[in-house]
């Protein structure tokens, strides 16, 4: 049981570390947002699942298991909403990607509408 919990939490820490490194070294705002999604999915799910296993088998508290699972579902539901909103808001506010983007359909269509 301890091994399963430890492995899940270490996986979670690895993905959170990758997300932090990505946020520090990616070149522009939008790719940094992609890396932050990395923290918010696997970084959360590993801790939630490992914690649920530990609370069920180590602590014998079903209330904590249910609360942990609700917390995980809440993160999974709300995180893409705020990510999408911030991405669109940043684009409309005037944050632009770097010039070396491969294709840029959104910008072309927005210019056509004006």
């Amino acid at each position: 049981m301890r091994i399963v919990v430890d492995v899940l939490i270490v996986i979670s820490i690895f993905f959170a570390f990758a997300g932090v490194v990505g946020m520090l070294r990616m070149p522009d705002s939008f790719t940094r947002m992609q890396s932050s999604t990395n923290i918010a999915t696997m970084g959360v799910l590993g801790v939630i699942l490992g914690g649920a296993v530990y609370a069920a088998l180590g602590l014998h508290e079903p209330v904590m298991v249910v609360k942990l699972l609700v917390l995980g579902v809440f993160y999974i539901i709300t995180n893409p909403i705020s990510g999408h909103a911030i991405c669109r808001g940043a684009y409309k506010h005037g944050v632009r990607p770097k010039e070396e983007m491969k294709c840029h359909k959104y910008g072309e269509d927005m210019v056509e509408e004006k």
Partner: protein, 84 residues
Amino acid sequence: MSELLFFAVCFIVLALCLFIRVILGPSVADRAVAADSVDILCDMALILFALHSGRSIFLDIALITAVLGFVGSTLVARYLEGRL
């Protein structure tokens, strides 16, 4: 099981590293996303501490922190879009 505290410290260290991005992020969106991620990482540390101490009241606090982070970042996004 005191490894849980060690893992919590790992998460806190990652959150402190992310403060670099909060401080020198060039645009508002960078700072908002980085602050949201700091919120999530601190939440994970809080969950691990709740498991270590065996009290479920910390999980309620973690849920409230998650709700506040979501509302805060959505509010920043709405302000950036100019509809606040």
